[in-house]
């Protein structure tokens, strides 16, 4: 059908008046227009890589073997001085010191003190006891919800 139309229009005089170079330009114009658009789209995508969600983490935590030495080094960094012999009795009443220590430990060990137990951390000994208790993901349902589910699958676990 298209070939027949082309043959019909080939007889027209206006087509032969147009030089061949411009006819090629006329038919290839659509190709040239697409290239700059593709480049712009690629640039826009590159401008926003920041909002990619980091991989989901599990809430499981096992205390490392060198927990005490890590805690001592944290105290060293936060307080600036070598921890004294009674470092377990250092009180965490000051907000800045407490924040720095707990934030540093959380980033280091990947396990943070939950809001409900923050007020119980009065001394470094309490922090040590908290971090020496392992935490497990409770059930397979929690593991499933942490993994990448398709958006139309919902798991609700009602007690």
């Amino acid at each position: 059908m298209a070939a027949l139309c082309v043959c019909r229009y080939a007889g027209r005089s206006w087509l032969w008046n147009v030089p061949l170079a411009t006819r090629r330009d006329f038919w290839s114009r659509s190709r040239k227009e697409k290239e700059p658009v593709v480049a712009e789209a690629v640039e826009e995508v590159k401008r926003e890589p920041v909002l990619v969600c980091p991989p989901l983490r599990s809430r499981a935590y096992t205390p490392p073997d060198d927990l005490q030495s890590r805690l001592e080094s944290c105290i060293n960094e936060v307080l600036g001085s070598f921890p004294p012999s009674n470092w377990q009795d250092i009180s965490l009443d000051d907000g800045h010191v407490k924040f720095r220590l707990l934030a540093h430990l959380a980033n280091d060990l990947g396990h943070a003190v939950p809001n409900s137990r923050l007020h119980q951390m009065c001394r470094v000994r309490d922090v040590l006891d908290f971090y020496s208790v392992p935490v497990q993901d409770r059930s397979k349902f929690d593991e499933l919800t942490a993994s990448n589910l398709p958006p139309n699958l919902k798991i609700s676990w009602g007690y």
Partner: protein, 294 residues
């Protein structure tokens, strides 16, 4: 005090700060330029919020992390102290039940109405004589035992279930609900509700990454100060709801799994809820103007 100041100055100068920065940069997987100034600001200037109201001597304040919604990784940018009388009261589940049922019922008006034997049309005349016809004796064809007759003890007209619990009970309900949310790790405090995009996907991913729960209630101070991105994102999401602090209520807190409060809204709540504990009984209702307080 001097020792702490010296320690703080040591922390400024020493390389451990850069070591921590490097570890944090590895964790976050964000480009180094944007992470370093933000992380540096968070490390050197943690947002420490102190309670303005007097805390009784026998009680210690409760604490919570101050988080930020600007990035996925910004989970601990400060520490907030919360008043124990508001965020650490006794877990009165009976008060929660009372207030939640009150919220559900006080607005209820049931419009159900049925006609009694007097209102159903007809039935004024005795259908047949008292004696001699062999049938049971009846006085009208619209009595309740007849088909098509009136209803004897049915709903009568619009009934209102309005009642008001005492103001202090409702305030205590809010305090108990806040306590329960905090103690069950469902309360998160945020410095402000500013988001980097208005994309609802960002908010859902953030909540999933931080293990918040399937439904989140976001509370800002007033309608006028809410950032546009949050308003746009929450308007397109069913399980993320945004309310001003004035609209906080026990039913919504129990309905949503997680509660996210901003620091100004925490201050507002503490103000309003603690005033109820130490106020005088009103000489005239509070909705009329007083010159002592707004």
């Amino acid at each position: 005090m001097l020792r702490l100041f010296r320690a703080a100055s040591h922390a400024w100068v020493r390389p451990p700060v850069s070591r921590v920065l490097n570890s944090l940069a590895e964790d976050s997987a964000r480009p180094a330029e944007s992470s370093e100034p933000g992380v540096r600001a968070g490390l050197l200037d943690p947002v420490v919020r102190k309670c303005k109201h007097l805390i009784p001597a026998h009680r210690r304040p409760v604490q919570a992390w101050v988080e930020s919604l600007r990035g996925f990784e910004q989970e601990r940018i400060g520490l907030a102290e919360l008043h124990p009388e508001v965020f650490a009261t006794a877990p009165r589940l009976d008060i929660l039940h009372q207030v939640a049922t009150w919220q559900k019922n006080f607005k209820r008006i049931s419009y159900a109405k049925t006609k009694t034997r007097a209102e159903v049309s007809g039935g004024g005349r005795k259908p047949w004589q008292q004696k001699g016809s062999g049938r049971a004796r009846h006085g009208s064809i619209r009595s309740p035992i007849w088909r098509g007759g009136g209803v004897a003890h049915g709903p009568r007209g619009p009934t209102s279930y309005y009642y008001m619990l005492p103001m202090k009970v409702r305030a205590l309900g809010l305090k108990v609900a806040l306590t329960v949310k905090l103690m069950q790790d469902d309360l998160h405090i945020v410095d402000s509700l500013e988001l980097p995009t208005a994309d609802p996907q960002y908010l859902t991913e953030l909540a999933q990454y931080r293990h918040w729960g399937s439904s989140v209630l976001l509370v800002d101070l007033t309608h006028e100060e809410m950032p546009e991105n949050v308003v746009a994102a929450t308007s397109r999401l069913k399980n993320f709801n945004l309310i001003p602090t004035v609209g906080l209520n026990v039913y919504s807190m129990l309905k949503h799994q997680t509660l996210v409060l901003t620091l100004p809204s925490v201050a507002f709540l503490e103000d309003k809820l603690l005033w109820q504990d130490s106020r005088y009984t009103p000489l005239y209702p509070f909705h009329l103007p007083y010159n002592d307080f707004p």
